[in-house]
């Protein structure tokens, strides 16, 4: 037993080493910097204790970006999982066109979201107004990027487009693992399709749902590339997410690296707490 443990450790050592050097070490470095007033340039900086964190409490832009992100996460977790599950169920029932649809829905996941963002930018700013003109549909001809309300919808649309495919694959795999005999037994007992889905399928794929919610929670909190390429956080800061606020703090406005590190630490803690709660709740509901 002990020997096999050692062997296993040896196998993961290379990966662990890279993880430690390129992820863990900078992460701890970041925690250290969050207690300093380093500006990313000057070799001299001071430890300033918790002053960065005190400043955070009064930082309107940071707090706004947290609320915006929470709003985004809430909508994404629900919509992305519901749509992915819906698509999975739908495509799973296709016999001949299954592969085709699966590929089509999964495709956006394979291109970088930065590029996806720019593509949608073109759709929102050039293609949609054109279509609106041709079809005489004034409702489409709105300032998708320039109006804070619509730019939020635009971000949601693009994020769903990019993220649904990946979750759908997870759900499809889970659906294939649902025991057929249970379903058949239920149907013989007179359950309709919805009842089978609700009482057999959903409980059986609970582990997949845990993963799905976990993945969307995590990724939506860290969202950056879609917003960056689509609206740049604008107009003004009306669509600024936390990751962008941190980026702006560190690289484009003040160069306050220490302060930006403190913000990242807060983001890390938020994600950690929420996912811990989510995991503990959802694990309990899984069938083992």
């Amino acid at each position: 037993m002990k020997k096999s443990n050692r062997n296993l450790t040896l196998f993961i050592l290379p990966a662990l080493l890279f993880y430690a050097i390129f992820t863990l070490a900078p992460a701890f470095g970041g925690i250290w910097y969050s207690f300093t007033n380093w500006n990313g340039l000057n070799p001299n900086y001071e430890l300033i204790g918790f002053r960065n964190f005190e400043m955070l409490l009064k930082d309107k832009n940071f707090i706004n970006s947290i609320w915006f992100t929470v709003k985004f996460v809430g909508i994404m977790v629900v919509l992305q999982n519901v749509i992915a599950l819906g698509l999975a169920v739908l495509i799973e029932t296709r016999l001949k066109t299954k592969t085709l649809f699966r590929t089509l829905v999964f495709m956006p996941n394979m291109i970088s979201m930065i590029i996806g963002g720019f593509m949608w930018m073109f759709i929102f700013t050039r293609a949609l107004p054109m279509i609106a003109k041709m079809l005489n549909m004034a409702a489409l001809d709105i300032s998708w990027i320039g109006d804070p309300t619509f730019s939020f919808i635009a971000i949601i649309i693009v994020s769903l487009w990019g993220g649904v495919g990946y979750l759908m694959i997870i759900y499809m795999a889970a659906l294939q693992g649902v025991a057929k005999n249970l379903k058949e037994a239920a149907m013989i007992d007179g359950a309709n399709a919805w009842q089978v889905f609700k009482n057999i399928t959903i409980p059986s794929i609970m582990p997949a749902i845990t993963i799905g919610v976990f993945v969307t929670l995590n990724n939506s909190f860290k969202v950056f590339d879609v917003v960056y390429s689509l609206t740049g956080g604008g107009p003004g800061r009306s669509t600024q997410v936390i990751a962008m606020n941190i980026f702006e703090e560190a690289y484009s406005l003040n160069n306050r690296f220490g302060y930006a590190s403190a913000k990242s630490l807060i983001l890390f803690i938020i994600i950690l707490v929420i996912t811990l709660i989510q995991l503990s709740i959802m694990r309990k509901r899984e069938i083992h």
Binding site: S143, I145, G146
Partner: protein, 416 residues
């Protein structure tokens, strides 16, 4: 296999013996490697050619064989790379930086050499020299200098017999005439926030220089408020009310194409963009004029600024050669051709090459005393203004909130 090892050993020994022989005899040139870091990937060929001339000169005059390690990252990554190099004691011998935005921080961190005693300093134009002077010392060599206001389409102006307006009343009149004839007065491109920020840059420059000259000092002392220069919104409101639609969907490139196509008569954008517009439509006549901020003509000013400048690291091991290189960039004989080829404005007295019509037009105002030195606002304030202008246009921020926020940001930037 054995043969291969033998071959490798022999070739290694050969190389080693050659290195051993390379000890400099008396007339052998001294070997020096310079690391040069520049943010001009678009000018790589020109600089490489120019540095070849420098190498030849050093070899001929000082018997030094210079190797130049030229690194040219794109400008959006350059800052991060440069800062990493500097903070890990791996400083390039010579590097570029932004005169107004970067010099204060870099100087305070001790990354800039004092160049005041260098020969090129005496040749600099006065208004350019001011900008690269910090703490009483010349700390960088100016490369790209700018004289800019807003751009206007001379063809449209000529069509309706208009001149570049010099006061806000004249501006209103120009706007009225243009609109009566179905032209859009202003091009708005707000997708990239630095473009709307140019409006505040010019408006604040005009108001502060003509009416409130010690405003920046007062702000730095915490004794003033943007309330004092709330007048800047007069012209900003006019521009925003008479501009093209959906500005948040127009980036710099798209706006250049729109301007080249004559979609609007004026664009608050610097002269640096004129060449790109001309590339799209070679027949367009572009003018550059100062932006009026009030009816006081002394506030209608051209912005004089230096962006990319060349600095020498104080930790350079070959400082003599590095300084020689920097001086050679402003060499009396060779540099005019370089600056002309790069389409940079003149920075030294001996630069007498022909410049662009829009540069000439801007400089003609400066000659009349209607230029001002780019104000040195904290970086955070400039960035905040850019964001707030977007919000102001989207009507999510009012004028009062704008003023209040900037006051706070400025105050915060002092505490660092």
């Amino acid at each position: 296999m054995k043969k291969l090892i033998l071959l490798l050993t022999v070739s290694l020994m050969l190389v080693l013996s050659m290195v051993g022989c390379a000890k400099p005899a008396d007339d052998e040139p001294e070997k020096v490697t310079l690391k040069v870091f520049m943010t001009f990937p678009r000018f790589q060929d020109q600089f490489e050619a120019y540095f070849e001339q420098f190498k030849a000169k050093m070899l001929a005059e000082k018997n030094i064989d210079v190797t130049i390690d030229l690194e040219m990252p794109t400008s959006d990554q350059a800052m991060q790379i440069l800062k990493t190099r500097l903070s890990t004691n791996d400083a390039p011998d010579v590097f570029t930086l932004h005169a107004i935005a970067d010099i204060p921080d870099f100087y305070e961190a001790g990354y800039l050499s004092d160049l005041s005693g260098e020969p090129f300093v005496g040749e600099l134009l006065e208004n350019v020299k001011d900008i690269v002077t910090y703490d009483g010392k010349v700390v960088a060599l100016p490369l790209e200098s700018l004289a800019w206001g807003y751009l206007y389409n001379k063809d449209i102006f000529a069509k309706y017999d208009l001149d570049a307006p010099q006061t806000i009343t004249e501006m209103l009149n120009v706007v009225k005439v243009l609109k009566e004839n179905g032209e859009t007065p202003f091009l708005l491109a707000f997708q990239e926030s630095w473009i709307p920020q140019l409006m505040t840059a010019l408006a604040i420059g005009g108001v502060v220089t003509s009416e409130n000259p010690d405003f920046v000092d007062k702000m730095n002392a915490g004794e003033a408020s943007y309330e004092e220069i709330a007048k800047i919104f007069d012209i900003i409101d006019i521009i925003m009310a008479n501009g093209t639609d959906k500005p948040f969907e127009v980036g710099n490139a798209a706006a250049s194409a729109d301007f080249a196509a004559g979609k609007a008569a004026m664009w608050v954008q610097g002269t640096w963009q004129a060449q790109a517009i001309l590339d799209i439509n070679p027949n367009i006549n572009i003018g550059a004029a100062p932006l009026p901020v009030s009816d006081n003509i002394n506030g209608t000013l051209i912005n004089l600024s230096v962006s990319t400048s060349l600095a020498v690291s104080p930790t350079s091991k070959n400082k003599e050669v590095a300084l020689a290189l920097v001086n050679y960039v402003l060499d009396k004989q060779a540099s005019s051709a370089l600056f002309e080829e790069l389409k940079f404005n003149p920075v030294a007295k001996f630069h007498t090459y022909e410049t662009f019509p829009w540069s000439d037009e801007a400089m003609s105002y400066v000659a009349l005393g209607r230029g001002y030195r780019d104000l040195s606002l904290p970086g955070a304030v400039t960035g905040e203004q850019a964001k707030l202008l977007q919000s102001y246009y989207a009507k999510t921020v009012t004028k009062a909130e704008f003023i209040q926020t900037i006051d706070e940001v400025w105050a915060n930037s002092l505490g660092q």
